[in-house]
Symmetry: C2
Subunit: 298 residues, 2 copies
């Protein structure tokens, strides 16, 4: 079986589609690499690319895509709601099939070393690739953002893992690492009262006492009409999708509010889908070995 | 994308594992063919092989496996609870990926023609390959079983599609055809009263007024301790797994009985699993394009 990695780089461009296309092009038409998805968010002035491929081929595509971002994006003129530290802001590598976390980590380190060497860009390793506990969490690495980098990098605690000990003048720094597959999904409520979504998020997320590996926020979407609990499951083997979903439903019932629907953002591993079906159908014998790839054409 | 067919032949052998192994061997070590599963049932004196592969390679493996069954199985000395018409009793071909029902049908016809020619064995086409409405349903083709074949084959309505107009002396006849993927699953109840399982089966199955493409029976399993509704979903795009499951739950509630668990027999298409997760999570955006093949090794 050919090993498959996923790479989901986030770039600090969300309004200039020409620049995003130029970056995405580096994942196109390459042997062993497949561009699955890319989306731009104008409010956040940020975009997310989803690509999968054979580890070395995907690494090389990513390195050249980062080069494009360094050339085209100037963080000195960048505004947006989303925190960011660099033009190629964060680059996670995720093992998908026939590939261990250690192998994903090795690819992440090779990419970081090459990016630092080729573009004179400082790189930090995070998540499963972090070289110290305080560098594991993306929010901590990114704290102070692009504007705070010159001061932050003077601190020996924040010496980069690769590259110069000062920010790139226009592209800042890049955060790279291996991590478990993350599932992003939103639960929309039958209410426009965002306070309810916020209260539910507080009870479900790990940081305020909820389920492990769950991040959650309450926000208002669809022109202020729908309160939403927006979640990241950073490890679905800790907390399954159905458990997070049912926890939101249970907390919402406390306000007499129901679930309108839920949405998946990006991709989801087959095992996570099977776990949900197995739970609701009480079907212990359902596992991925019993699932036939689909795409039936009648 | 390489086209993939599934073949799930049923052989009239369930007690002699040496014979079953010899038959299964024909699906082993062949380019473009993968033996996924095989199980023998002693009560039914019957076994089911599940293999997938490239259409022509799978067809050729099946033809040689049927030859093995013709050589090794004598229906004149065969007893068992399950109705059967031949040594290689029924051979469905199911399109799995990159392959239409018409292509599966063509492969089924080629296999039937070659089996008839090579082993002098009469073959009937059924399901989507049937050449007349009265031959579509397996139960109708098999009615009268091996013992009734000499008389049945005198009727012009039951002239075989390929091969001689009389049964093979030891191997009877074989029923071959293309069909949609079938999902076999059982729902075990929190009761040992089989009358309840039978009553539920009657209300759920299509033949007595229930959901379309659902076959169901009430039986007693686990040494008479558990009443079970055993189901075949012959087209999950008509009736999804979750709908059949919830229908059983709903009818069981009428007797104050709950669901103990459910079991999957054989394989299930990924789309059918995604349909269940999408229903329970109210997640319209979940579709197979968003699902990453798994097999993560951490």
């Amino acid at each position: 079986m050919v090993p498959i990695l996923e790479c989901v780089p986030n770039f600090s461009v969300g309004r200039d589609m020409q620049v995003l296309e130029a970056i995405a092009d580096h994942f196109r038409g390459k042997q062993g690499v497949k561009l699955l998805d890319y989306t731009a968010d104008a409010d956040h002035n940020r975009s997310v690319i989803t690509a999968v491929g054979q580890p070395e081929a995907l690494r090389d595509a990513l390195v050249s895509a980062v080069g494009e971002a360094v050339k085209r994006i100037d963080l000195n003129c960048h505004t947006g709601q989303h925190p960011r530290i660099g033009a190629a802001d964060v680059v996670p590598f995720i093992p998908i099939r026939g590939c261990t976390m250690a192998e994903a980590d090795a690819i992440a380190r090779q990419a970081a070393a090459e990016i630092a060497r080729r573009y004179d860009l400082p790189c930090y390793l995070y998540e499963r690739s972090a070289t110290a506990a305080h560098r594991k969490n993306l929010a901590d690495v990114r704290k102070g953002e692009f504007e705070g980098l010159p001061a932050k990098m003077q601190d020996p605690l924040w010496k980069p893992d690769f590259g110069p000990e000062h920010p790139h003048p226009t592209a800042g720094a890049t955060v790279i690492g291996a991590r478990a597959p993350l599932i992003a999904f939103n639960v929309n409520l039958n209410t426009s009262d965002v306070r309810i979504a916020k209260a539910i998020a507080r009870r479900v997320r790990h940081s305020s006492g909820g389920y492990r590996s769950v991040k959650a926020l309450g926000v208002l979407v669809e022109q202020g009409e729908v309160a939403q609990v927006t979640m990241n499951l950073t490890d679905y083997t800790d907390t399954a999708v159905y458990r997070a979903f049912e926890a939101v439903k249970m907390e919402a019932a406390r306000y007499g509010v129901g679930v309108r629907n839920s949405e998946l953002i990006g991709l989801i591993p087959m095992q996570a889908v099977a776990d949900c079906a197995a739970y609701y159908l009480q079907m212990d014998s359902l596992n991925v070995d019993r699932i036939l790839e689909s795409g039936l054409e009648f």
